[in-house]
């Protein structure tokens, strides 16, 4: 308090909007925030009585240490990436679709309707195509519903899509207990997909990963080079401007949400036919929520989402390892993702604004 004699002429801290900031500096700030978030997570680990470095190291090895775990990590990254791309369709037009969980589930159910009951009729290729289409259409329609209401009456889409998650979940529980219950099972569960109908593996993981990479490129082109992508961007910035430009806002809402839901539905199909071979309450397993953070961290850039989803898959896979090795519960990954995201959200402020402390006026030309 030695500065008490300084006359209180201005507030202690003021913020000033930066004119421009170089890309390097912006990424530097993000990198610092990222490191800080790891340190915060590390402190938590320390409090629990473990060595943070060892825990982090175990996580990395747990995700990349062997061929088997790499396959597992990729298997986790694929649904995350495709869902994130799907969500970014909606988010780009500021449509807060948090119903990816539900869209994944109905996609899985629709794919299951064919996979479980027509596997003896169709050969593999047409069956897989059918499952894909069914999953996408179901997911798309499930995403379309809130979009129609939003376009017509301005219904709040956040809660609408969220409620649809729970409805889809209840529906799957119903199928497990009732009509789709595996014959002969005393436990409520749905039968397994016959091996002949399961997705072919390429380099140890079902081909969904190739599809995901293709989707990264395709969606980037869609967002940046096509008329429809341009329309999404305009609608996202201002509905008024979009109407002025002759864009049918309601149509863009519907079309984009259908696509968003369809991609999530595709994830459901991939999980069913490529990873789990059955449908459970855990088929979506929180992917729909985690993918939101993936999309946001990557600033809706598909290439960024590729990196972030692989990173988060690593955290999730790695937290399974630390559960076995250190007896740290696997929910640690959620906690850590939350912490990282908090820091990333916060650091954007320092990219947009500059703080000026009292008496430390910077002089700029």
């Amino acid at each position: 308090m030695s500065k008490a004699h300084v006359q209180a002429k201005e507030p202690l801290i003021r913020m000033v909007k930066r004119g421009t900031i170089s890309q390097e500096k912006a990424w530097g700030i993000r990198a610092i925030a990222f490191v800080l978030s790891l340190i915060t997570g590390g402190l938590l680990i320390l409090v629990l009585g473990h060595n943070p470095l060892e825990v982090y190291k175990a996580m990395v090895i747990g995700a990349w240490g062997s061929r088997t775990v790499i396959h597992e990590t990729v298997k986790l990254a694929v649904p995350l990436l495709i869902t994130a791309i799907g969500i970014s369709f909606a988010f780009k037009m500021k449509f807060w679709n948090i119903g990816a969980e539900g869209q994944i589930l109905v996609g899985a159910v629709a794919a299951g309707a064919f996979g479980l009951f027509t596997a003896h009729i169709f050969p593999k290729l047409p069956l897989v195509v059918l499952m894909m289409l069914a999953g996408m259409v179901a997911g798309g329609l499930y995403g379309l519903l809130p979009a129609v209401c939003k376009a017509k009456w301005g219904t709040n889409e956040t809660l609408f899509t969220l409620m649809l998650n729970y409805i889809a979940l209840a529906f799957i529980k119903y199928l497990m207990n009732g009509p789709w219950k595996a014959p002969g099972s005393s436990f409520p569960k749905i039968a397994m997909l016959v091996p002949g109908a399961r997705l072919t593996k390429v380099l140890g993981v079902h081909w969904g990963w190739i599809l995901a990479l293709v989707l990264v490129v395709v969606s980037w082109i869609y967002f940046n080079k096509t008329k429809q992508g341009y329309e999404i961007a305009v609608v996202g910035e201002s509905n008024n401007t979009a109407r002025y430009a002759g864009i049918n806002v309601s149509k863009v809402f519907r079309r984009t949400m259908f696509l968003s839901g369809a991609l999530c539905g595709l994830v459901g199909m991939l999980q069913f036919a490529g990873a789990d071979y059955t449908i459970t309450e855990g088929t979506a397993g929180g992917v729909g929520f985690t993918a939101i953070t993936v999309a946001w961290l990557a600033k809706m850039n598909p290439y960024g989402m590729l990196i972030v989803s692989v990173f988060i898959a690593m955290l999730e896979r790695g937290s399974n390892t630390i559960q076995t090795n250190f007896k740290i519960p696997a929910s640690a990954s959620d906690l850590l993702i939350g912490i990282i995201l908090f820091f990333m959200l916060g650091c954007e402020f320092f990219i947009t604004y500059r703080l000026i402390f009292r008496g430390k006026e910077e002089h700029h030309a």
Binding site: A8, K9, E10, P11, R14, K17, R18, G19, K225, T226, K227, Q228, G229, Y230, A233, V234, E237, S238, N240, T241, R243, Y244, A245, G246, I247, N248
Partner: protein, 532 residues
Amino acid sequence: MGETTEFAVRMHHVTKTFGKVVANKDVDLELRDGEILALLGENGSGKTTLMNMLSGIYFPDHGEIDVHGKQVTIRSPRDAFELGIGMIHQHFKLVEVLTAAENIVLGLDGKATVNRKEINQKVRDLASRYGFELDPAKKVYNMAVSEKQTVEILKVLYRGADILILDEPTAVLTPQETEKLFAVLRNMKKDGKSIIIITHKLNEVMAISDRVAILRKGEYIGVVDTDKTNQAQLTEMMVGRPISLAIDRPKVEERPERLQVIGLTCLNGDGVKALDNVSFSAYGGEILGVAGIAGSGQRELCEAIAGLYPTIGGSVLYTGEHEGEPIKERILGLRPDEIVKKGISMAFVPEDRLGMGLVAGMDMTDNVMLRSYKNKKGIFVDRKAPKVLAEQLIEELEIVTPGVETPVGRLSGGNVQKVLLGREIALSPSVLIVAYPVRGLDINSSYRIYELLNEQKKKGVAVIFIGEDLDVLMELSDRIMVLCGGKVSGIVDPKEVTKEDIGLMMIHVEDDKLAKDEPEGNKTAKKEGVES
């Protein structure tokens, strides 16, 4: 000491920047005790910013402020209010769902509970002391504009402010209401209050103020005693040089009818008629000025014609050519893209430039293609042609921007408007609707805009010009349509009427006068409308 205490407010070397924009540069301002000081300047000259620093909305980057001779720090509106400074903003700062009295006591210290009976009575007493009429229990969203202003002024008085700042208080008032307001201000002055009134209307400056301080482009120009100056001198101080207000009005011989509007009616959000049976015609080769008090239906008129506002009655008939063939189309109720599909090229420069006309976060190329990206076939957008056009616009209209990749939201107001108008003109329209195209622009940009509009007129475009400055409207327009409360109170030839005539029409509609003032074209239009 004696010298400083006679000033209610002194501002020294005050500077405020927003990013790269310098809003106020090294400004000095002095307000004497018990005087009415007019703060004069063009739109965008930094008047409001300067006053916002006095009322605690902004904090200056540099400079000092003295109130009643003591140096002070105004960090927040609360600080300002404790110093007895109250500001009546141009955009009313009232909470819509609360009552007048609740708004007035908002933010005040006092008992933990709010006794509505008591505050209503207090407000009623205060209102009657100054001759206001107000129901303290009325919710703000049910109020007319002048009532809201009354609430704003009472709010400041209730807080015991002795320094009042009014930001363009007359912009939303009729001349009669303005007179009433000025009478109240004179009462307050007698009461010992010191008042700053921000305005850019010279006649009001002359009528109400004791002294006039002038700002130009964020800089302080000087202060003069009102009774020792005249409008010409003030204008010169305000714009920097004597200006020939003479705006060109070229005459175009051929004037084909382009747009025939009959009985246009629409409702606003509250179910009140925003447009009531509006009929007129717009001709190629002329500028049709539209005058009226703010909120008389101007926005709804533009947007209804452009296909952006729902209507409940009337029709709009377009006559023109498409690929050499004459066409006649009813366009009311069509979306903008449907209008384009009919082969009609109608350009519209909306009032809300960054909220409707442009996408603030996108660069110039993406903004330039906003209205034309659909023209090319296929699923991909073509950014090559728009980029060329954007560069062309930068050169032709002297748009100041770091480059075509800079988001338009970062440009200054005048440059934003040039991008918008330039893009619309590039559509080679046959009808051009412009709403308040020079609002917030400096004088040079404004004249450039007038030139561009005249060029379009000479090309045979039917220009509909929604304006607010009557002097400009009267010099630029070939005909002026006056709106009052959503109705057309008359369509006149500006060469044959005075400004006062138009002013009267802005506040009063005579229903029988309506037919008489209509030009020939419009009468036939009405007949056709009935027949079809």
